[in-house]
């Protein structure tokens, strides 16, 4: 698999580490009951999945990768903390 790192360009997937669902947010510490779900419970979708990849053998960026889990087709790759991305602008508005 190849991942188009926004910083380094297209690289082999062996340079990256997979973490999982990129939509999980660390819950507010005042809501401890949400922690169990946030830490342990994950969906296992067949199809489009927004996920976190870490470019450990490159620029060390955490990336938000949208990938089809059935075909490994990658639709988008963006820096997780890039404020200019649509996802982050939406989050900022919300």
């Amino acid at each position: 698999m190849r991942i188009q790192c926004p910083f380094c360009g297209e690289r082999d997937s062996s340079e990256f580490t997979y973490l999982g669902d990129a939509t999980v947010r660390r819950p507010d510490p005042s809501a401890p009951e949400q922690y169990f779900e946030a830490v342990y419970l994950r969906d296992n979708p067949a199809g489009r999945h927004e996920e976190l990849w870490y470019h450990g053998f490159g620029c060390r960026s955490w990336l938000r990768v949208t990938r089809d889990t059935r075909t490994h087709e990658i639709f988008t790759v963006e820096m997780y903390n890039d404020a200019t991305t649509e996802t982050n602008q939406e989050a900022a508005r919300a």
């Binding site: 190849r2 342990y40 450990g56 955490w62 997780y80």
Partner: protein, 989 residues
């Protein structure tokens, strides 16, 4: 003698004779031969025994799809089993041995299986080895393992080297036949970066095995011109002897280049094979087609061969497969073989065509050549003990006729070679018109020629050129128009004939796994009607050839047996590798010590000069101890090192510990959130020990953080977790709190760091550093840190201690590491400074009750380690919430304690489990275990750290440390984990 070399023809070098051995007999071949062609040229028909029935087998094909002619190649450490004789290139002195026979190929005891064949039917293993259950492990499995498998591995270390390489291109063309060459030419002429891979050692594919004409010259000439043109272009890489064995995500392909397989031994500094990872923007799949055998009685007799293979041996190798061959066909292509053989002067005994009507041109051709022709007829049986002597034909009118023959060329039509198209989950689709499975649409890939069912040469060239142009265009290159060369005419009619009804003897579908037509029908009768079940029950298509010649016939038989159509039955798909790939190629240079990189510290050479014994710590090599002359036992050495440190001074390389530089306006806030304790209160010039949790509440790592300048911190991690902590911090910084202004970078390799420990450590540093920094207790108290100018460099000093002694850590840029440690040793001569290793470091940390990797095992909480009070209640931090879970604050959890043997002369062993006295040895009585042990030279007996249920409340209690594998059982006493200097007085002096 049946096969023989013709007086002329072929792409072999008749001037270069090569001698080789098969089963100890010497033969001669020529450069350009394969083992198979050379054996056929010498009249050898019998080359192996079949897997299950040990039936005599010959050469079926002339390519990598070969199921029968598997031999052991070479001898000694280079012996390689299951090598396909049909692709193994001949070299002088080659030694090949037949497989799966005993005592000899001609007389094989195992052939008795053939007489017992009624019990060796489909599902034989499942039916036979069921009862009694206890027999499985002791009797059946060893028996099956002994009988199973074909060749023998060498069981010696491979003397050759293998390497890996990467390549990138615009257009990857897989297959160097007519379609592939046309594709490569049109893409290359457009200026695209092209890689052309072919598994063969000559390009051309079927063009070498046929007598064809392209644009007025022979197919072979055209191939040579195309190859020459491609090789003259700078952006084209032509890779012969290179099998693309797998398709992977992101247009990545695995390929193995057989660099030296055609040589007796690799040339100096050359690998045996090279594994390629090829990343292509577009792919042209031009993998051709594979001819289907016909399924009739005793169709596996040596001498029965694919019709196209006979033609390849004739045209490419100048070898006639027999003196009086018979052609058995259901296709027009079979007739080409008959005509070509006849033209070469071979007396074709007959053509038996299953069809009742054939084209007029074939009939007139038959008339001209005078070949005896039987239409609407079938071969129903063959005779001959170790090779074909006679075939029995049922004629159209039902009458039988025996024909003398020493070779039978069968032609059942062509199956597109679609294996690579299915590796990523592509499902083949059935074509009613062609009666074949075609590859499905693939992203980024264009299929051309016979691989997509276009079986004529004209179509292969046309489609190949179009595919190459399209691939070039879609990668931004303007492709000039391609004027397809004219080719001679051909007929390509096929009437599929899946099984010859009522034939005698075993009719093989899968030659390699000995699966017969009857096995397929039996499996269907027993309910294995799904194609996947059929495959596993009968083992159809599960050999090393992946059923290249057998799958479609098997599916057709299953369809007939279950009254369905072939598309209703469906098909299994292929997995990488396309053909077997040696482990060596996948391993490459990653063997032995080179399995992973070795990291050496700046003082490594110095340590080696001092006679250090090294040990692996993550990827690093660290000095374990420094034996002095006369010391005979590692414990003696370690005891001396510990005593020297505690009585005077010692130096230890601690450069391998992870070092992370943290800067930014919000660095303190950030550190507060990743550590359980408060860092934001740490003043500049001070260091603090910290514990880091995972979000699930368990301890992840520990280390110190030094505040060396406003907003500038240096964190240390354990050696093993350095990378993991870095990733964790990056996650916290980028994902969890992107709003924080903080930057981090690993500086582990940039700084060499040395611990100077012991009562004389300050004196040593004063001498070494002179006036560069004041290290008095007043100016530089416990946990102080500073960056300072020392000679030409910026150095850092930390007053931290893992040993419990007065200690410092001096950090210098890594390039000064070697000089610094030598200077430290010189400066400490007056006090008898010793270098100490990881083992002494471990002894001293156990004496002080400091936790390390054995305790930071991912299953312990801060409280378990006696560090619960460090958890700040004034702030949020990673892991805080879940660390408060009932299970993690349970008072019964195992917690850190010290242990001493009650009999002080006894040795402790890590891993021993605690049992209360009187408790039976049972898992539910388990109270915890010893995590770390050491011989304490200060206390003069063994000591240990352990995790014991309710541990801290049990000091004074006696327990049994149960270790059935080594020491048996030792009585231990629970004590405080701090064995030495519990007040910490030495630390602060």
């Amino acid at each position: 003698m049946s096969g023989h070399r013709l007086g002329k023809g072929g792409l072999i070098d008749r001037q270069r004779a090569l001698t080789f051995q098969f089963d100890g007999r010497r033969f001669t071949g020529h450069a350009g031969d394969t083992v198979a062609s050379a054996l056929l040229a010498n009249g050898v028909q019998l080359v192996g025994r079949s897997f299950k029935y040990h039936r005599p087998r010959g050469i079926l094909t002339a390519g990598s799809e070969e199921p029968n002619a598997l031999v052991e190649l070479r001898t000694g450490a280079r012996r390689e089993p299951n090598t396909r004789a049909t692709v193994a290139e001949l070299f002088d002195g080659l030694e090949a041995t037949s497989q799966n026979r005993w005592p000899s190929l001609g007389f094989d005891v195992g052939a008795i299986n053939s007489l017992l064949s009624p019990i060796f039917v489909a599902g034989f293993y499942y039916k036979t080895f069921m009862w009694p259950a206890a027999f499985w492990e002791k009797v059946y499995e060893p028996l099956i393992r002994k009988a199973a498998g074909l060749g023998r591995a060498s069981e010696q270390s491979d003397p050759d080297i293998y390497e890996k390489a990467h390549a990138f291109c615009d257009v990857l063309v897989i297959g160097g036949g007519a379609a592939g060459l046309a594709a490569a030419l049109s893409a290359a002429r457009a200026g695209a970066r092209v890689i052309l891979c072919d598994e063969d050692f000559v390009l051309g594919g079927r063009l070498n095995g046929d007598r064809r004409e392209i644009g007025g010259c022979s197919g072979v000439e055209w191939t040579q011109r195309a190859a020459a043109e491609l090789e003259s272009l700078p952006d084209v890489r032509v890779m012969r002897r290179t099998t693309v064995f797998g398709a992977y995500d992101g247009n990545t392909f695995g390929a193995v280049e057989r660099v030296s397989d055609h040589l007796p031994t690799p040339s100096p500094h050359q690998p045996r094979q090279r594994l390629w990872k090829i990343v292509a923007r577009r792919i042209v799949l031009a993998t051709g087609a594979i001819e289907r055998p016909l399924v009739f009685g005793d169709n596996d007799r040596p001498g029965v061969m694919m019709s196209s293979a006979a033609r390849t041996y004739l045209h490419r190798f100048g070898v006639a497969v027999g003196h009086s061959p018979v052609v058995f066909t259901s296709t027009d292509d079979g007739w080409v073989t008959a005509f070509d053989l006849a033209r070469a002067g071979i007396a074709v005994r007959a053509v038996i065509d299953t069809r009742t009507k054939i084209s007029a041109s074939l009939l007139s051709g038959a008339k001209q050549t005078g070949i005896y022709t039987l239409l609407g007829a079938q071969v129903v049986a063959t005779q001959g003990s170790h090779g074909l002597t006679r075939v029995t034909v049922r004629k159209h009118d039902g009458g039988m006729e025996n024909l003398k023959a020493d070779a039978l060329c069968m032609s059942g039509g062509w199956n597109p070679n679609i294996a690579l198209s299915t590796h990523l989950g592509g499902r083949p689709r059935w074509s009613d018109e062609l009666s074949v499975f075609l590859p499905s649409e693939l992203r980024g890939t264009i299929v051309a020629g016979a691989a997509r069912g276009s079986f004529t040469l004209a179509a292969a060239l046309r489609e190949g050129a179009a595919a190459g142009a399209e691939a070039a265009q879609s990668t931004g290159h303007d492709a000039p128009a391609w004027s397809a060369p004219t080719v001679d005419d051909e007929l390509s009619g096929v009437t599929p004939c899946w099984r010859i009804a009522d034939s005698r003897g075993k009719a093989f579908v899968d030659f390699q796994n000995d699966v017969t037509a009857d096995d397929v029908t039996l499996a269907a009768r027993e309910g294995f009607t799904s194609v996947e079940h059929l495959k596993r029950y009968t083992t159809l298509g599960m050999g090393t050839d992946q059923g290249r010649t057998s799958n479609v016939n098997g599916l057709a038989l299953l369809a007939a047996a279950t009254g369905r159509t072939i598309p209703e039955v469906g098909t299994t798909v292929f997995r990488p590798p396309y053909t077997p790939v040696s482990f060596g190629a996948f391993v490459g240079h990653h063997r032995g010590k080179d399995f992973r990189p070795t990291r050496l510290t700046a003082s490594h050479r110095w340590a080696a000069e001092r006679g250090a014994t090294f040990v692996e710590a993550a990827q690093w090599l660290r000095a374990q101890w420094f034996a002095e002359p006369g010391e005979t036992d590692w414990l003696q050495t370690v005891n001396r090192e510990v005593k020297s440190v505690r009585s005077s001074v010692g130096v230890c390389d601690v450069s391998t510990l992870g070092k992370i530089d943290i800067q930014g306006k919000d660095a303190a806030t950030f550190l507060d959130r990743v550590y359980i304790n408060m860092i934001s209160t740490l003043p500049v010039g001070k260091t603090r020990y910290g514990i880091m949790l995972r979000e699930d509440g368990f301890v992840m790592d520990d280390g110190t953080t030094a505040h060396i300048a406003p907003g500038h911190y240096v964190m240390s991690t354990t050696t093993v977790n350095a990378g993991k902590v870095m990733q964790h911090l990056e996650h916290a910084r980028q994902v969890t709190w992107p709003e924080l202004d903080v930057q981090i970078v690993s500086i582990t390799e940039q700084w060499a760091q040395y611990s100077i420990a012991g009562p004389n450590s300050r004196r040593l540093l004063e001498r070494l550093l002179g006036g560069a920094i004041d290290v008095s207790n007043e100016a530089f108290p416990y946990l102080a840190c500073a960056e300072f100018q020392w000679q030409s460099m910026r150095a850092r000093l930390f007053r931290v201690s893992f040993s419990g002694e007065l200690a410092f850590e001096l950090a210098v840029p890594a390039r000064y590491g070697d000089a610094t440690i030598r200077a430290l040793m010189t400066a400490g001569q007056e006090w008898g400074v010793v270098p100490y290793g990881l083992e002494a470091l471990g002894v001293m940390r156990i004496e002080k009750g400091h936790v390390a990797g054995n305790e930071l095992n991912g299953m312990t909480t801060a409280a378990d380690l006696g560090l619960g009070r460090m958890m700040s209640t004034k702030k949020d931090f990673i892991g805080r919430v879940l660390a408060g879970r009932p299970g993690l604050v349970d008072a019964n959890r195992p917690a850190l304690v010290g242990l001493k043997p009650v009999d002080r002369s006894k040795r402790l062993f890590a891993g021993a489990h605690f049992l209360s006295s009187g408790a039976t040895v049972a898992l539910n009585n388990d109270q915890g275990y010893l995590t770390s042990v050491a011989f304490s030279p200060m206390l003069d007996h063994w000591i240990g750290l352990g995790l014991l249920a309710r541990g801290q409340a049990r000091v004074g209690e006696r327990l049994r440390a149960y270790d059935p594998l080594r020491s048996g059982e030792i009585e231990v006493e629970v004590v405080s984990p701090v064995f030495f200097d519990p007040e910490g007085a030495r630390l602060k002096g």
